[in-house]
């Protein structure tokens, strides 16, 4: 962890500007992935619509900055709050159902969010999106915007790490494993699922806000179900049962997308093939795959050690 952080700190000094921008994107996607994974990997709640909450965060910041001329920090801080509120409303409905129906409900709500953004021209600028968002000039100096993202993402991921390793996180995992059993250790399961949904939405909102700042513009497609699927792939790619999974998944996914799209116009085709390969052969994602290999190696070494000693 510490090593990675140190590496990330010196990135702008080592890499080109476009690479730094890429890593910036990876950081934001990593946060979105970790936020989603709280529900997905730790809570066992498959959501088809995380992009909806992500877009709410992005648009909250965008609208506050453009329409209301709000101070920068207010606009950024408001995003997760708005996202969490929306998440609470959406989540309240969604956790009433489980599995397929839960997933379809999240999809429907995300599409409603998309529709509202798309149609409410006066407020959101509709399908034109909001461009030229007034980001404070200081962020465009040097690599400041990278450090801005890095700082916020680092803090958020640290908080998520604490949450996942807390009694709440343990209870959430128990719900994932066996909801009926968890009810019978006196845990109001639905309430905890809603809490996970809201926390997830909170951090998705931050990710959306960060991307708004990074890109300087927002568009309705930030809420589209295809974007949601990107986030799901990021989690799966890295591995949903490991905390680092979405972080690794984000880096790999964005890297691969950029590399492939540079080399061919049919990048979706190759991305599709990679995803097929992933689903068929690496269900636990890259981190899960690595973890499995490491533990198998460790077992073999232990067994070897045992033989030596006896």
């Amino acid at each position: 962890m510490i090593l990675v952080s140190l590496v990330l700190l010196i990135v702008p000094f080592v890499f080109s500007r476009s690479m730094v921008s890429l890593i910036n994107e990876m950081l934001i996607m990593a946060l979105a992935g970790c936020a989603l994974n709280l529900m997905l990997g730790y809570g066992g709640m498959v959501s088809f619509g995380p992009a909806g909450l992500y877009a709410v965060g992005a648009y909250a910041t965008a609208i506050l900055l453009t329409k209301y001329g709000a101070p920068f920090f207010v606009a950024v801080l408001a995003a997760p709050v708005v996202a969490a509120i929306v998440g609470a409303i959406v989540g309240w409905f969604c956790v009433r159902r489980s599995a397929v129906y839960f997933a379809l409900l999240t999809l429907a709500f995300a599409q409603i969010i998309w529709t509202i953004i798309f149609e409410w021209y006066d407020f959101t600028n509709g399908d034109n999106g909001i461009v030229s968002i007034p980001i404070p000039e200081v962020l465009y100096v040097g690599s400041n915007i990278y450090y801005f993202s890095l700082a916020i993402v680092a803090v958020c991921i640290f908080v998520l790490w604490r949450i996942v390793n807390s009694p709440f996180g343990a209870t959430l995992q128990a719900i994932r494993e066996n909801p009926m059993r968890t009810e019978f250790i006196a845990v109001p399961v639905r309430r905890y699922q809603l809490a996970a949904f809201v926390i997830s939405s909170f951090f998705l909102g931050i990710a959306g806000s960060l991307f708004c700042v990074f890109a300087g513009s927002v568009f309705p497609d930030y809420a589209h179900w295809v974007k949601s699927t990107d986030m799901l792939v990021v989690c799966l790619l890295g591995g949903i049962y490991n905390f680092a999974g979405p972080i690794v998944g984000s880096a790999v996914y964005i890297l691969i997308s950029k590399v492939i799209s540079k080399n061919t116009t049919y990048w979706m085709f190759f991305l599709g093939i990679i995803i097929v390969f992933l689903v068929l052969y690496m269900r636990n994602g890259m981190v899960g795959f690595a973890a499995e290999k490491i533990s198998r190696l460790r077992n073999r070494l232990d067994a070897g050690k045992g033989e030596d000693e006896s």
């Binding site: 604490r162 009694p167 066996n178």
Partner: protein, 247 residues
């Protein structure tokens, strides 16, 4: 009297799964519910534990009515339960399985920012020891042997300080040796903690071995209730079980 049901009835479509069941169970009793397959034992259990709501009738626990209350509330009031299938948390370690229950018992489940790793260690270890699983604490629950999983489940159920335990086929799938060990364990734990026990069983050696009282269920109705010797002698019960396989 700790537990009572009055005229509990549940129908699924045209099928009456539970029919006018009225039970009274005293504190500290060990009661078994037996009956051929399809007699409605699991449905009765689900009614008692709030997983399904009865069409008619009421359930009382320690004098308070609990009909229709959600399972987590009933659990908090002191009723513990085991399940026939998928009874533990497979991907969590044995230690974590019990720990998460202890969190709930101590009302710490909602804590978001404290580190769970070192919390409630003593209580968790005590419980693991009492069910004989302390040495397997770091194994993933799903990798435990079947008998150990049942014991783990017992441990989980005990963590939330129940005064009444409902066990659904606690020795299912066990070898004769395991059955004896588990039965002894259950007896010991029940006596130590002064629990009341209601359990469903197919294994007659267990039923006759430890029950104070037996209720015989057939087609959703309690057709006989009494002490083990009385049940053994009763002709109707024998008739119902003729042709039924006893484990």
């Amino acid at each position: 009297m700790i537990f009572e049901t009055k005229h509990l009835t549940k129908k699924f479509g045209g099928l009456t799964a539970t029919s006018d069941v009225s039970l009274q169970i005293g504190e500290g009793e060990l009661v078994s519910i037996i009956g051929p397959n399809g007699a409605g034992k699991t449905t009765l259990f689900n009614l008692l534990t709030g997983h399904i709501k009865p069409d008619e009738g009421k359930v009382y626990f320690q004098g308070k009515e609990i009909t229709g209350l959600p399972p987590h509330t009933i659990s908090r009031m002191g009723i513990g339960r085991s399940f026939q299938r998928l009874n533990i948390f497979p991907r969590l370690t044995t230690f974590e399985n019990v720990q998460v229950a202890v969190f709930s018992a101590q009302r710490k489940s909602h804590q978001l920012f404290t580190s769970a790793k070192k919390m409630v260690r003593e209580e968790t270890e005590t419980i693991l020891e009492s069910v004989g699983l302390l040495d397997k604490r770091d194994m993933k629950g799903g990798l435990l042997a079947h008998g150990d999983q049942k014991r783990l489940e017992l441990g989980i159920a005990l963590s939330v300080h129940p005064s009444l335990l409902l066990l659904d086929e606690p020795t299912q799938g066990m070898s004769p040796q395991e059955t004896i060990e588990t039965t002894a364990l259950i007896q010991k734990l029940v006596k130590e903690r002064g629990l009341t026990l209601i359990f469903v069983e197919h294994d007659m050696s267990v039923v006759f071995g430890i029950s104070d009282n037996i209720r015989v269920l057939h087609q959703g109705k309690v057709i006989f209730s009494g002490k083990p010797e009385e049940v053994k002698r009763n002709e109707e019960v024998q008739r119902i079980y003729l042709g039924e396989e006893n484990k």
